[in-house]
């Protein structure tokens, strides 16, 4: 198996002096290709911060992060941007669709930003929308879509372009149970196809789709060996 994401002794603190807050404190985690890892923990445990530093959105205060063997600490702003375009698909808690672009244009955006021709990017975007069952609404603007439909578009945007790492921060927050299950099934299928994924969730039901569950508390990993079958009821 190949390690897609390697996090070693990563710490992240905000502020200084008596206002200093430690969001991550010596976290280590490795995610292999084809593996779906669920990250669980109470609010303020550092789950979102972990995804931010793993995806190159934020820099750790200390420690090392490698994505497909590239040390993020050695990359500048432009290098991190290129990494996000080419190797990391991100599903945000707040969807973050751009209102001025149609569903297909939102999905094609990472590819177009990477210099892919608009026509090719659109073809890839339509294929990704097809995967999440949204191809028919490709030309629709986000404010004309329901919350669930917007979430599917956001997931399609993370899937487009064959990126090896998928980071999903509460991707089912806006969905009903049935739609949430469908989305998790989709993530699982991508991992079965070789993609490495990290899923932040509060829902033990959705963690059941993961190969492994990592528990975070106060910025520290308290357990990363748990198998989904053993956690039922632990955080519910």
């Amino acid at each position: 198996m190949t390690a897609v994401l390697e996090i070693e002794q990563v710490a992240r603190t905000y502020g200084s002096g008596h206002t200093q807050v430690t969001a991550l404190d010596g976290v280590s985690l490795t995610v292999q290709a084809g593996e779906l890892v669920a990250v669980m923990g109470p609010s303020g445990a550092g789950k979102s911060t972990l995804l931010h530093v793993a995806g190159g959105l934020d820099r750790p205060t200390s420690g090392t992060i490698r994505v497909t063997e590239t040390d993020l600490g050695r990359l500048g702003r432009a290098g991190l941007a290129a990494l996000r375009r080419r190797r990391v698909g991100y599903v945000f808690q707040e969807l973050n669709l751009i209102a001025a672009l149609t569903a297909a244009e939102n999905v094609a955006l990472p590819r177009e930003l990477d210099g892919v021709r608009a026509r090719t990017a659109r073809t890839e975007a339509l294929a990704a929308l097809e995967l999440v069952g949204m191809a028919e609404l490709a030309g629709t603007f986000p404010d004309q879509l329901s919350g669930g439909e917007q979430q599917r578009v956001a997931i399609a945007r993370a899937l487009v372009g064959q990126r090896p790492l998928l980071l999903a921060d509460e991707p089912t927050g806006a969905l009903d149970t049935l739609a949430g299950e469908a989305i998790l099934g989709l993530l699982r299928a991508r991992c079965d196809a070789g993609v490495a994924a990290v899923l932040v969730t509060h829902e033990p039901r959705y963690a059941g789709y993961a190969d492994r569950i990592v528990f975070l508390t106060d910025g520290r990993v308290v357990d990363q060996t748990a198998h989904p079958t053993t956690v039922a009821g632990r955080w519910s």
């Binding site: 905000y14 931010h52 959105l57 941007a81 751009i98 209102a99 001025a100 930003l113």
Partner: protein, 653 residues
């Protein structure tokens, strides 16, 4: 009574909200402070420079005053438009707070009052900042301007401050702030409480009525442009011309929102950055249409003046009677011709005779237009070879000249394509013959030195015209208009041999000084309106940036290059300034283009040489307005996007 007693708390709420949204508040203050400063500086400078004895003031005062007040009006309109956009966006951000007020029992009028009070308070701060800034600007500029207009006031030139003018500027500034807040206040007053609490503003209706009004006004303006050609010479014509320009100006400005919408629809095929920039503009017409309208209104002023000056210069070229062109020299002997040709490198000489001899033999040219009284066309006929045609500036009529036509130098001299030659050839009886004629559009040659008509020597022989034996004259055409040094050389030649009789055209100093003054005024206009345009576009981009922070964060998260924000801002600014610039070009040239087209329809029916010439386009000005200023706007706006939006919230979860 309740409304009066509630003013206190409403004012407090307005003040606190203004502090909460500092960026919009600052923008609104600047939008009011700038025109107030301009008004104060301008009126103070005009009052201080007003010296009855100054030649410059005597020559230019009326135009400068008209231009100044036009500019002031345009600046205030631009300020109202952009301030209105800032108030609208600030009110949108305050929706939740307004909703809470409404839920607590505030009526629609009270919600509107909060918005207006806020704008008035910020406007007052803008006025209080603008007045001293304007006085400081006037103090700094006065000595330089005094030197430029030739007033011996020195470095310590006294600044004449008229309190009435300061009050006027303050009043106009405050009025602009309140007017800017009217539409947002009405919208806030009509907002449903639930929508306000959810911070959701229902979309505004498409401004179809505005589009219709704009289209009708443009059509009416162009129609009036045609009408004034038909009424040429009537006392109503100048008023109809002014009404035509005004209707086109207001009409195109009203169409700016529809234009922004149209551009937004065409964004599908653009690359990602362009598409985002264009769609964002189209989705926020409040600020983008306001910026386009402000740019249009500003740049239309120099475009109109520039187009008018270009038409006037073209008319001068086409109609103004002249004896010789500035690149021609006329001499009466072969020796003089040789000496002059030698002193003008590249010059070519052409000998010609006139069909006039002492003793009464004469050929004169006639026709309905040529014989119009008071027009002063020289009815003489030059007889020569092809080179005389070239020397007279009629090379484009070479084929007709060789085929036996008379070439007429003027405008509308031969509307029916023929002239009548009246031949007095003593002792033979006088006779008249009609020959075909073509026209070379140029100012008519007047006086006796150079005829307005030319015919080839072969044709003259074929027609049996007299006068072929008179001593030839020589028309010399230089490769370019004569320079001062070359005219000095000719003067020296003339002084050396007074018998040589050399004639040339001296430049008209009044005309030169007028042209130079006009150029300076046009340049100042372009500079000031360019600043208005840049200010409006930058303000619109600053508002766009404040509204697009969330989208910019998303773009960064998806891997957009750090320079993306800069490119988006530059793209939006370029598009806004280009749309405004193109509308300004259309406003400047539209009425004159219609007038020119109409005049070509009317021209054949006119028996007298009158009416506008072909459309003269001031290309340099068009390039500055439609290319230069948009490029500057893009460069200025790209500075706004120098710091990319944060990629994550400040605290992790």
């Amino acid at each position: 009574m309740a409304a009066i007693t509630s003013i206190g708390p409403l004012a407090r709420i307005a003040g606190r909200d203004a502090l909460l949204h500092r960026r919009h508040s600052l923008l609104l203050m600047v939008m009011i402070a700038l025109p107030v400063a301009g008004l104060v500086a301008g009126t103070t400078l005009l009052d201080s420079l007003w010296q009855p004895g100054s030649v410059w003031i005597q020559l230019w005062s009326s135009l400068v005053v008209v231009v100044f007040w036009t500019l002031s009006a345009v600046t205030l309109v631009a300020a109202v438009l952009m301030a209105s956009a800032a108030v609208t966006i600030a009110a949108r951000r305050q929706l939740h707070a307004l909703g809470l007020l409404a839920a607590a029992g505030a009526g629609g009028r009270q919600l509107g009052t909060v918005v207006i009070l806020q704008a008035a308070a910020l406007g007052l701060v803008g006025v209080l900042t603008g007045i001293p800034a304007g006085l400081l600007l006037a103090r700094a500029l006065l000595p330089r301007l005094a030197r430029a207009v030739g007033l011996p006031l020195g470095e310590a030139a006294p600044l004449l401050v008229v309190p009435g003018r300061l009050l006027l500027a303050a009043g106009l500034g405050l009025l602009a702030a309140v007017v800017a807040a009217l539409v947002p206040a009405v919208r806030a007053a009509r907002l449903p409480v639930t929508a306000a609490l959810a911070a959701h503003q229902p979309p505004t209706r498409q401004p179809r009525r505005l589009t219709v009004v704009g289209t009708v006004l443009v059509l009416v303006g162009l129609g009036l442009g045609v009408l004034q050609v038909w009424l040429m010479g009537s006392r109503w014509q100048p008023w109809i011309a002014v009404a035509s320009v005004a209707a086109v100006l207001v009409g195109f400005t009203a169409l700016s929102r529809a234009l922004v919408d149209l551009v937004g629809r065409s964004a599908r095929r653009l690359p990602a950055t362009g598409r985002l920039a264009v769609r964002d503009l189209a989705r926020h017409p409040t600020r983008s249409a306001a910026a386009v309208a402000a740019v249009t209104a500003g740049l239309a002023v120099p475009m109109l003046l520039g187009a008018m000056t270009a038409q006037s210069a073209a008319s001068m070229r086409d109609y103004a009677p002249r004896q010789l062109r500035t690149d021609q020299v006329l001499v009466y002997s072969p020796a003089a011709a040789a000496a002059v040709t030698q002193s003008l490198p590249g010059a070519r000489q052409a000998p010609f005779t006139t069909a006039t001899e002492a003793g009464g033999t004469e050929v004169t040219v006639h026709g309905p237009a040529i014989d119009q009284p008071d027009f002063g066309v020289s009815r003489g006929l030059a007889i020569g070879e092809q080179e005389v045609l070239v020397a007279m500036g009629g090379e484009q009529a070479a084929a007709a000249f060789a085929d036996g036509a008379v070439v007429a130098f003027g405008t509308n001299l031969v509307p029916d394509g023929q002239v009548t030659l009246a031949i007095t050839d003593i002792p033979r009886p006088a006779r008249r013959i009609t020959v075909p004629a073509v026209e070379v559009t140029t100012g008519s040659y007047t006086g006796q030195e150079l005829p307005s008509f030319a015919i080839s020597r072969q044709t003259a022989q074929r027609l049996g015209l007299p006068g072929l034996t008179t001593p030839p004259r020589y028309l010399i055409r230089a490769s370019r208009p004569l320079s001062d040094a070359q005219r000095d050389q000719l003067r020296a030649l003339q002084n050396q041999s007074p018998a040589m009789l050399i004639s040339w055209a001296e430049p008209d100093p009044d005309l030169q000084s007028f042209a130079q003054g006009m150029r300076s005024i046009l340049l100042a206009l372009v500079a000031v309106t360019g600043i208005i345009a840049l200010g409006s576009v930058t303000a619109a981009c600053a508002l766009a940036l404040s509204e697009a922070r969330h989208d910019l964060t998303t773009l960064g998260q998806l891997g957009a290059a750090p320079a993306m924000t800069r490119r988006l801002m530059a793209g939006q600014a370029w598009l806004l300034a280009t749309l405004g610039g193109l509308l300004a070009v259309a406003i400047g040239l539209g009425p004159f283009a219609v007038q020119a087209i109409a005049s070509w329809q009317v021209r054949p029916r006119l028996a007298i040489p009158i009416g506008p010439s072909a459309l003269a386009v001031p290309w340099t000005l068009v390039a500055v307005v439609a290319v230069g200023i948009p490029a500057l706007a893009a460069a200025a706006a790209s500075l706004l996007g120098h710091s990319p939006a944060p990629l994550t919230p400040r605290r992790g979860g």
